[in-house]
Amino acid sequence: MKISEIASLLNAEVLCGNGELDREVKSACGCDMMSDVLAFVKEQAVLITGLCNPQVVRTAQMMDMVCIVFVRGKRPPKEVVELAEKADIVVLATNERMYVACGMLYQSGLSGGGVVNG
């Protein structure tokens, strides 16, 4: 699934990375606990989260994730978006709640990816 499709499915605003919406995403992780995200290895993944601090970006960066979706209408502070931009990560913001956002993407064919304890 392309990042642009994620943005349109979730009716999301693009906060940075407008030029990279054609990038392909292969799996997703919906999580507010960063160590749970870090336990999850998958290529070209998107992180869906309700947290808005710099560690969200650094966590995604450590895992080579390509996109972060902030749910529940949260808008991360400017510094957080700048950090993502520097790390080459696309940032989207949607008003959908976590459960709904994940459900919509899953239903549209974006799988969860690997098993955590693989």
């Binding site: 160590s35 601090n53 560690q55």
Partner: protein
């Protein structure tokens, strides 16, 4: 110590906002040195977990990363409270993190298990009241 590049960072324990910056720098350096994405990810995730732990549990510390051709050794040293029961701390889900840390996205009790999982060797030395030193090796 032949052919070793040493990276060293002081981890600020007072400032949660900057927690993880050293790991980002290490990741960038390893990429410049040409290591594979998989090796880089293992090193940076393990170090990131350890760096966050030093900030939230131990008031900061020092991180040293020694890069050899065939392995990368990460040493995290702090003068925090120490870990009284290491096997317990290593258990997935065990955490003493308070609610304010949980609301920042940490405290799942998965950091130490992740560090073990992503590295080829991990050793924890800890003295209660003195501090903790964690040494992790990733083979290239």
């Amino acid at each position: 110590m032949a052919d070793c590049v040493r990276l060293r960072y002081v981890i600020d324990g007072e400032n949660f906002t900057s927690a993880g910056e050293a790991s980002v720098k290490v990741k960038r350096s390893l990429r410049q040195m040409g290591f594979s994405p998989e090796v880089i990810r293992k090193v940076s995730v393990a170090m990131y977990e350890g760096e966050i732990n030093m900030v939230i549990h131990a008031r900061g510390g020092v991180a040293t990363v020694d890069v050899y051709e065939d392995r990368i050794v990460i040493v995290l040293e702090d003068e925090g409270p120490g870990i009284p029961d290491i096997p317990l701390a290593m258990q997935a889900g065990y955490s003493t993190a308070p609610d304010n840390i949980r609301s920042l996205g940490f405290g799942a009790g998965m950091g130490l298990p992740n560090m073990k999982k992503y590295t080829d060797d991990m050793k924890i030395e800890s003295v209660v009241g003195k501090g903790t030193t964690i040494t992790m090796t990733v083979n290239v």
